[in-house]
């Protein structure tokens, strides 16, 4: 059993991978660093404190004191030149000119500025004696599943499956070709199918670790859960990994140099990094582009992962995206086998 060629080839693949520290970082470390950095940078904390300037002049200190007492606002009294400068550069959201009428100067296309104007106006009106007729109460919630990090983790998972599938397979194949190792294998009775299958098998072993590392980190650090079943996540990731391994095989099927295959990899991956909704929703792209975007394997994979992890969908509801992922894999693999350069 241990001396079966498939076992030995798969072991060789795995050893070559885990004895390469850089590869370990890019596959395991990098997505976690990315998730951590983006999760921190885009955590839900609301607009934060809004800075408001009050122009120096009669009545300025009373207005400023009133504004400073309001929750979510800070106020400073500034001279005209300084106030204009800070408004223009966005360091203050609003400039209040006391007097009659009270003048609000701000950029109405900035959400922050419009919010500051509403808040400041309420303070100014109440100071002049306005009484709110209705009683209100605020209830604040933060719902897991609606945060950016909940959107991001499945996307990073998809992106990582793409990256390690393409690099893991494509790079090793081309390296074996440039080092004439492929030709050396061809001089033995080794079956070609064993060689190709060994890539798939070693991918599946590492896939398990990759997924566990990223999903585990998301849960531990940000409490990103999996609303659907773990079995569904496992099925989708395996399908995704196989599909991208097929694409990696296709990319590597003819290339003779590492430079050539690197270029091809980037050509394949770059559009998907941008278009496939890893970091932001692909709904932002124009309608004419949507059919193309949705036909990309990473888009379909990300959609399926999000459906299970965020919405708790079942596999039976995901026929369309999973079909797209599978089709890419099968077609790539079949074409790769036809055109593969074995030496």
């Amino acid at each position: 059993m241990r001396d079966h060629p498939l076992v030995q080839l798969t072991l060789a693949r795995m050893r070559e991978f885990y004895r390469e520290p850089e590869a370990i970082f890019w596959v395991f470390g990098f997505p976690i660093v990315l998730a951590f950095a983006l999760g921190i940078a885009f955590r839900n904390r609301g607009p934060g404190e809004l800075r408001v300037a009050v122009l120096r002049g009669a009545g300025d200190s009373a207005v400023a004191a009133g504004l400073a007492r309001a929750p979510g606002l800070t106020a400073a009294v500034l001279d005209s030149g300084e106030a204009q400068l800070q408004l223009r550069t966005g360091r203050v959201a609003l400039l209040v000119v006391p007097g009659d009428p009270v003048v609000y100067r701000y950029d109405s296309t900035r959400t922050e500025s419009r919010l500051a104007r509403l808040e400041a106006d309420a303070v100014v009106q109440r100071a002049r004696g306005r009484v709110d007729p209705a009683r209100v109460a605020d209830q604040r919630v933060t719902e897991p599943g609606s945060r950016y990090i909940d959107f991001l983790i499945p996307g990073l998972l998809g992106m990582n499956l793409m990256g390690s599938g393409l690099w893991g397979v494509g790079f090793s194949v081309v390296q074996a070709r440039t080092k004439k190792l492929l030709k050396r294998f061809m001089a033995t009775p080794m079956r070609r199918s064993h060689y190709l299958l060994s890539f798939i098998l070693s991918r599946l072993v590492f896939l398990f670790l990759e997924v566990a590392a990223l999903v585990g980190f998301g849960w531990w650090m940000f409490h990103v859960g999996v609303r659907g079943s773990f079995a569904a996540v496992a099925f989708i990731t395996v399908l995704g990994a196989l599909s991208f391994a097929g694409l990696g095989m296709l990319v590597a099927s003819r290339a003779r140099t590492i430079e050539a295959v690197s270029g091809l990899m980037n050509l394949v991956m770059l559009p998907m990094w941008i278009l496939s909704g890893t970091f932001f929703s692909y709904a932002r792209f124009p309608d004419t582009l949507q059919p193309f975007v949705k036909a990309l394997p990473l888009t379909a994979l990300n959609d399926a992962l999000r459906a299970v992890m965020i919405d708790g969908s079942r596999l039976s509801e995901l026929g369309a995206p999973l079909g797209i992922v599978a089709a890419w894999g099968v077609v790539s693999f079949v074409v790769a086998l036809q055109i593969f350069r074995w030496r």
Partner: protein
């Protein structure tokens, strides 16, 4: 009578405008060590790779151990019986010696144990070392180990000792010797004539994709008609140099070859030719800057056939 381990006839292969092999016939007999000799670009590697079934010839017939490279199951069955070392394979650097041998071993039905094959090439102590950490000679012995692991009947070695120091080269010669002692047949290419003379029962000297001489090293050297080569050069060049006819007339001289920086005489009897040469030069008032004699080698055979040195051919 069993088929010859290697038979080929009318072999031809071209790459674009470059003719690599131009009509080649060879038969290698069982238990023979056969050498393909020639300068770089003579077509040695193309020939051996055609015989190994890795390159398809444009024309010609090949039979290895009585079988043809027909693809499919026959090809796999034939590969089980061959050991192949390629000229430019770089084995995976991050695998250990043992892991590499075990990997190659897994491709074959019948095989040596890992211990046996490491013993054959003398790499027992390196079994846990990464391939990337081995010396050039150790890497070559590992490559040969991967070729020997299947207990082959026929071993192909493409420039197995190129770039190795003399000690590593001798270690590899020992490995080949042990394989032959077990009854194996070897085809090797080399551009070291000394290696061919030492190892090979017969050699074929190749140039421009053709065999230009074939025979035992001894018979090829004997075909020069003399066993020694005397080389000399003069301090002030051509002005006082004796002509080729004068040199050829000296006692014991069989052939004269003038090179750009030295003149070589093929001689039967050094003890008669050298005093005569010195006498002639003295009468001419020419002064020697170099005088050397050596036993005739295959290198001299190549030079006499092509007019070129092997190394810069």
């Amino acid at each position: 009578m069993l088929a010859a381990p290697i038979y080929c006839a009318g072999l031809a292969k071209r790459y674009g405008d470059v003719v690599a092999v131009a009509g080649l016939d060879l038969t290698v007999n069982a238990r023979e060590c056969f050498g393909l000799l020639g300068p770089n670009g003579a077509g040695k590697t193309t020939t051996i790779e055609i015989l190994e079934g890795l390159t398809a010839p444009d024309r010609g017939e090949v039979a290895i151990l009585g079988m043809r490279w027909s693809g499919g199951a026959d090809t796999r069955a034939l590969r089980e019986r061959l050991g192949i070392q390629l000229q430019d394979t770089q084995l995976a650097e991050k695998l250990t010696v043992e892991e590499t041998v075990r990997l190659f071993r897994s491709f074959y039905r019948a095989s040596h144990s890992v211990d046996e094959v490491l013993g054959l090439v003398g790499l027992e102590e390196k079994r846990a070392a990464w391939v990337g950490k081995l010396s050039g000679g150790q890497k070559q012995r590992l490559a040969v180990a991967c070729a020997l692991v299947s207990r082959p009947e026929l071993l192909f070695l493409d420039e197995p000792t190129t770039g190795l120091d003399p000690q590593s080269r001798r270690q590899l010669w020992d490995v080949i010797g042990r394989f032959r002692a077990e009854g194996g047949t070897v085809l090797l290419t080399t551009h070291y004539m000394e290696e061919a003379e030492r190892l090979c029962d017969r050699v074929a000297i190749m140039d421009h994709g053709k065999v230009i001489a074939l025979g035992t090293p001894r018979s090829l050297i004997a075909s020069l008609g003399a066993e020694h080569v005397v080389e000399f050069a003069l301090t002030d060049g051509a002005t006082r140099a004796p002509s080729a006819t004068e040199l050829a007339a000296l006692p014991g001289v069989r052939a004269v070859r003038s090179g750009p920086d030295r003149t070589a005489l093929t001689v039967a009897e050094v003890h008669r030719a050298v005093p005569a040469l010195l006498g002639l030069l003295e009468r001419r008032g020419a002064e020697l800057s170099l005088l050397a004699t050596h036993h005739a080698t295959l290198e001299d055979v190549f030079v006499s056939l092509t007019g070129r040195q092997l190394r810069d051919a």
